[in-house]
Amino acid sequence: MKNIIMDSTAIERVLKRIAHEIIERHTAVPISLIGIRTGGVFISKRLAGYIQSYEQIPVQTGTLDITLYRDDVALRSGRAIVKATEVNFKVDGASLILVDDVLFTGRTIRAAMDAVMDLGRPAVIQLAVLVDRGHRELPIKADYIGKNVPTAFDDEIKVVFKENGNNEDNVYFIKKGDEI
């Protein structure tokens, strides 16, 4: 069965909360958000917008494609397509916040950290995610979490965004074997 566990309103609410948390806890200026393609990019752009609407803090965003850093592509049935990485600010010495939609095994974040390290030597890397569904395979944890969702390993969490041409933002919870 398909289950909407977060709708547009809920997503907006938690992202605004994360924006406030970042303002509160992240002291480095400017705030540097790096979205992981594809969902993380939309989230990072929205976070940047919220932060700037609350405080006069400079925010910069970048985009990371981690295809070339993955260690699990061969295990996936899909075919990888490489998109551009666009980080137009200096990574050396920066305090970065990686942004992704779903935190699962941690392998994506591991790859993203490798990718960021290849761009320079940041002072700090933090992690913001919309959903943390557990089942970590690596010692990674998020600094900012929109919602914790207990899942079975085989379940699927699917996030759709208006930026992707959808009518609504939604987070779906799909039990194993179900179709969306």
Binding site: Y69, V73, I81, A84, G120
Partner: protein, 312 residues
């Protein structure tokens, strides 16, 4: 001829394949601008540069491309090969294949050698040029360079000028650009082309005015100086005057025309120095830069994990 065996000719690729290879090349270009120019995608894979015909620049471009993807690169060239000892090309390649490389990059003087080797090897091959047949990555980097500038290929007037008959670049260019909708015009001395080249989808002209007028892109081919004295053209002087490109002829093209050349340039022969160095029009160095990205893309598409061409 593509996914299993790599990329041996643009004649075997369809429009979507070409677009995807170039799109990926654009994505990868940023890697070459980093301070640490390396991603781990092909860690632990061995790429063999198997060059039966010398070409320092193409070999170097492929080597840099493979290394930026973290592959290990082994160079094998004609001078150090067993060819001089009477070994066949097939045997040479099979011997190296026994050492389990992930990919062959092959350059060879004989047209069709990629098809021959693909039949005998299970390792994928990317062609770095075969005889007078194809030079697919040159075709791709030419497309990338045009897209870079013009954002489209469809409907552009692309002039390919020079020794069309013996050019693998001209063939790969028209196979690739033709599929993307370019209007390709071959401009050549009548001794270095035949009417049958129109079958590739190009128009043919022997007249410089007709060729260059309203051109969006001009690709000048390198004229082989060795061909002087074979009766195909009388002298470098006359070739340059009638079939070369200079500032004056360039004026007939569109104001935003770009000039390309696969290199190395014979200055003052097919291309005057003033055109070659004209920053407003010349994209020759950009081609070389894009060459690395295109070759990274080609290598990644051929042997990257989960490699292949996606549907979306």
């Amino acid at each position: 001829m593509r996914s299993e065996k790599g990329i041996i000719g643009l004649k075997y690729l369809d429009k979507k394949d070409i677009e995807q290879l170039v799109e990926t090349a654009f994505s990868m270009r940023e890697i070459s601008l980093r301070s640490v120019k390396k991603v781990p995608a092909l860690r632990g894979k061995t790429v063999v540069n198997l060059f039966f015909e010398s070409s320092t620049r193409t070999k170097t471009s492929f080597e840099i491309a493979a290394k930026r993807l973290s592959a290990d690169v082994v160079n094998f060239s004609y001078s150090s090969s067993s060819i001089s000892k009477g070994e066949t090309t097939i045997d040479t390649a099979k011997n190296i294949e026994s050492m389990n490389p992930a990919l062959f990059i092959i350059r060879h003087a004989s047209s069709g050698v990629m098809e021959l080797l693909a039949k005998h090897l299970h390792t994928p091959i990317i062609s770095a040029g075969d005889g007078t047949n194809e030079h697919p990555t040159q075709g791709l980097l030419d497309i990338m360079t045009i897209l870079d500038e013009k954002k489209r290929i469809d409907g552009l007037k692309v002039v390919v000028a020079g020794d069309i008959y013996h050019s693998r670049v001209a063939r790969s260019d028209i196979y690739g650009m033709g599929k993307l909708g370019a209007k390709v015009c071959f401009f050549s001395p009548p001794t270095l082309i035949t009417d049958d080249f129109a079958s590739l989808g190009a128009t043919i002209t022997y007249d410089a005015t007709e060729a260059f007028t309203d051109a969006d892109v001009i690709i000048m081919l390198r004229i082989q100086l060795e061909r002087q004295g074979t009766g195909l053209f009388p002298s470098a002087r006359e070739y340059s005057r009638i079939f070369g490109l200079n500032e004056q002829k360039l004026k007939r093209a569109k104001p935003d025309v770009i000039v390309m050349h696969p290199g190395p340039v014979n200055r003052g022969l097919e291309l005057s120095s003033s055109v070659a160095d004209n920053g407003a029009h010349s994209r020759i160095m950009k081609q070389v830069e894009n060459g690395v990205s295109v070759r990274m893309s080609a290598i990644y598409h051929t042997i990257g994990e989960g490699h292949g061409y996606t549907d979306n």
